[in-house]
Symmetry: C2
Subunit: 252 residues, 2 copies
Amino acid sequence: MIGAGNVATRLAPAFKEAGRSVVQVYSRTADSAGKLAKILDTGFTTNLKELKQDADLYLIAVSDDAIGEIARNLEIMHKMLVHTSGSVPMEVLRTASNQTGVFYPLQTFSRERKTNLSQVPICVEAGSDEILAKLKLLASGISDKVVEVDSDQRKMLHLAAVFACNFPNFMYQIADQITRSANLEFSLLKPLIIETASKVQSMSPENAQTGPALRRDKKIMEQHLEVLENYPVIREIYKIISSEIEKSGSIE
Amino acid sequence: MIGAGNVATRLAPAFKEAGRSVVQVYSRTADSAGKLAKILDTGFTTNLKELKQDADLYLIAVSDDAIGEIARNLEIMHKMLVHTSGSVPMEVLRTASNQTGVFYPLQTFSRERKTNLSQVPICVEAGSDEILAKLKLLASGISDKVVEVDSDQRKMLHLAAVFACNFPNFMYQIADQITRSANLEFSLLKPLIIETASKVQSMSPENAQTGPALRRDKKIMEQHLEVLENYPVIREIYKIISSEIEKSGSIE
């Protein structure tokens, strides 16, 4: 396991639980490497030159920026080399190995939170059918949803994930600020947030939409813009998204 | 029950289940009024002048625009008159009754979807302690979360709800478009959407944030902006929100 961040810390124990053996952890920092190695009851290194040479799979789960550099410093030509990134093409691994692949878990991982991987789509891609079969087998050990996704599709999926996860979460952040400014608890919004996410599990987001912009309720929207007068950026976000909802939606 | 839309259609049956009797349904359109009245096994009218005069409570659950007009056409001075809006001040009811209140369920309602109300915060406000007590009792029959919220706070809560619900849902809509354009299924994103909403049930949105903007991963963001080149508005939304996440967040 090359990397010991959020993704590595979720994947490695899941592999172990699925009966795979994680023989070594690498990280630039001894602290991170040591922590994950301890969870796995295995060894670790902070030196790429000390990687064990007899592993079946070398899985790079580091930040997108660092993947290329690690690949350039690896020499494992006839070993399976795979990264976990949503955005980096498989090609960057070619210099280091002739058995390349991608193993991209489509989920948001935070250190403090344990995630159930069984429902998380694992998007796999490989340079050959043989590697693809191996990755599918590995993925099916930890998740019920294994899908083949090529590098171009994966890039789009990652962009979609930003809109499905990071941006809604930022909207929650703004909602948090607004409730606090009115001496109200953010927790009042929690059932609404869950219901909004739950609705699109069985309805299209288009059909699930509600609210003043969809209803084209100009009076309420003007009221809201007035409240946001001293928050120009949030006000701009409100305007642009509301205007798009107005355009896209049919009346409630 | 004055109104027969999404909110009325959720609340009225819940009241009935809680042992309250809904004696009549009003709606401008006979079709809507009739449908809801049938569910409740009660009568309906499309004429405000034909409202039964002996109800304990007149609950206005219509679009924000229409509340004032209905209030102007009601004469029930010594009866309890309450609306369900997040944005309309209680005062608009004053001309019609001297026993006014607000009963605002903080949730997104769609006709096709049955919502469990027990976890939905009911925000109550009233012109007197007596009415407040009655509304709290009524609310506690259908929900475990009853909170007192004044008109100013309620306006802010409604604005926060737009950011917690309508805007995330519009982000899902964009994600849906992006996945479809790459021949991928939107359903791949469903576990991510649920996990994102679930995280903020126990973490602050700030701590839950992940993704390229938080990591200040310029390369990925430029790649994403390139993909969105032909979608100027979505591109603008991407830029403005990413820039705010960059500013607000600490490095992952």
